[in-house]
Symmetry: C2
Subunit: 394 residues, 2 copies
Amino acid sequence: MKNLIRLILSLLVIEFVFSQSLAAQKDFGFKPAASNIQGSDFPKISVDKSVYVRLRAPEAIKVQVQGGDGFCPKPLDLVRDTAGNWNAIVPSVGPGFHYYWFTVDGVRVNDPGSDTYHGYGRPTGGIEIPIADEDFFTAKNVPHGDVREHWYYSDITGKWRRAFVYTPPEYDKNAKKKYPVLYLLHGAGENERGWSKQGHMSFILDNLIAEKRAVPMIVVMDNGYATAKDAPAASAGFSMRDMTKMAETLEQVYVKEIIPNIDLSYRTIPKREGRAMAGLSMGGMQTMLIGMSHLELFSYYGFFSGAIMGGIMDDPKTAFSGAFADAESFNKKVKLMWFGAGSGEAQFVKMVDDSKKKLEVLGIKPITYISQGTFHEWHTWRRHLNEFAPLLFK
Amino acid sequence: MKNLIRLILSLLVIEFVFSQSLAAQKDFGFKPAASNIQGSDFPKISVDKSVYVRLRAPEAIKVQVQGGDGFCPKPLDLVRDTAGNWNAIVPSVGPGFHYYWFTVDGVRVNDPGSDTYHGYGRPTGGIEIPIADEDFFTAKNVPHGDVREHWYYSDITGKWRRAFVYTPPEYDKNAKKKYPVLYLLHGAGENERGWSKQGHMSFILDNLIAEKRAVPMIVVMDNGYATAKDAPAASAGFSMRDMTKMAETLEQVYVKEIIPNIDLSYRTIPKREGRAMAGLSMGGMQTMLIGMSHLELFSYYGFFSGAIMGGIMDDPKTAFSGAFADAESFNKKVKLMWFGAGSGEAQFVKMVDDSKKKLEVLGIKPITYISQGTFHEWHTWRRHLNEFAPLLFK
């Protein structure tokens, strides 16, 4: 009965006219987002980075909008106009890439006006909020590498797994040359498509290689979820315990399956000096857990807004069977420890500072970088890749 | 006010208990579909190919399900249970791959339990209904080719375009060998990902090549939509007029941009004898329009449930500036005219028969194939590719 009353009230309330306020919005120069699907007018972004969202839903009772870090973290009500469209202005959205969704009468719906991406463990809408430095990840008139969908059978998980493999523009022209490999990991709830789709990694690398700022390299982007074939199925994998358990299986998959398969399938430099590992958020934690346990495999490490648990770095001297304890030996093997975060994600900035201090005390000198004005989202990580890749394999 | 009455009636009606009927459903052996996202119990498929769909939507007033050819063509109401889940059994779904979606209080929503695919011009849910012959498109322990995401700038459309390019398993090992190329086109509302995702084309080719039934070949899958940079934006492209107009631009893109770029980027056999063109539905029509106008470019043609307009084949003798008129000359250039359809899509079967008869009268001998028990959907086209590819480049 309560529901009924709520419904009746809603029906009476929703008739006020949203369109009157729209004329005023013209002054703010709302324009369709670059991430809209072709021909879609909504969502629109204003010069002051407000987002005007609209959903056609004449029969709905309640519509809300909500998004990821930097985009409307609490649900915001949309208002129905007389034409049956629901409208809202999401105020002051942070720059960069943001997942977002509508809730229509309690059901989560992706905006049909936006492209979808694999986020939160499911296809999720996303929007690009303009930022000054978009040039470095934009497709330009330079040679382009391919991103290859590469399948291989994993005996550990009992499944066919898919990696995306970037081969640099010159790869097919130099049939004898061998290339170093960067293993690049995505975040929680995302998948192996994240770096090439949300991250535009191929254009970042194409541009860096064309400018001779980075050496030509292969980049391998595999899935960050792995469950041993006889283990019970994992949940969506957001808990630290799930992540740690999964990292153990993933470690085996990397060491026994992914790396050997890549070295067999592509012209790689199959030794420590020819391998780097980096990841964002959950992938940063996996880079720490897997990478620090295998200094024989990698020489360069990147932690992009890395979800590095306090536990690991509490006593770095004893962590990873003492990998950090002998700085001289560590520094001989490891050419780069790179930590980054976005200035808008305070806890990750703190982790960067904390890691730097603790490693410096031991005699290990990390490089750190804070992306100004960005959040826990892909523009932060695009900048990280753009800063990190030029330091590799030189 | 009518809406209000409808809402009140709905609220009174929805309390009958769906769960009582579920015990009976056990006998039908409902099991989660192979296309479900990991860990999702719904949708479920019974031994008699009914599909049990469920959506959690405690606050919704009306939920319906509908799908593509062979799957619930008219909206079917779901029924709310006391737990807030909406349920329905979709009866007698055809085998193969089907797009489907929910409508929640008038808004189209993809099933969060299923993966999504680019269909109907937007991300759309899909389900695989089991069929006896799945083996040929399944990943097996054979060498696997890569499917490469390949970007190039198109001056005609003023945009960066993306092709997916399958390179056969041996491609990277034989640095000198040149390969023939099949240009493979998707259907209306789909995109360049369709053949490798919904179609599993890489596994079909991997298996055929491993069995030595098909020669190793490159397969290029580009986007079937192209709008000249100064032309007004096209609609979603389902009208014949839109398609014809687009085919004219697409013809220019193929002749001046796609084919030269592929011949430059990959080790191809860059002549008629080394090229085939095939497409499904709208892509079949494009293969006819572009291919028959360029007998100097291709030797092998496939029309998979091809949307071949009556107009073209009405008088084949005069069509395409008389390409078919001189059968002797045509047969010297063209090694294969292949037409296929699914037995469940009567109008396309008719087009196959009609094309065959009309060409035979002229002295051109097409090969035809009807996929038994399948509809206007991807399993029909997987079978078409599996039958067509072995006939190429021999």
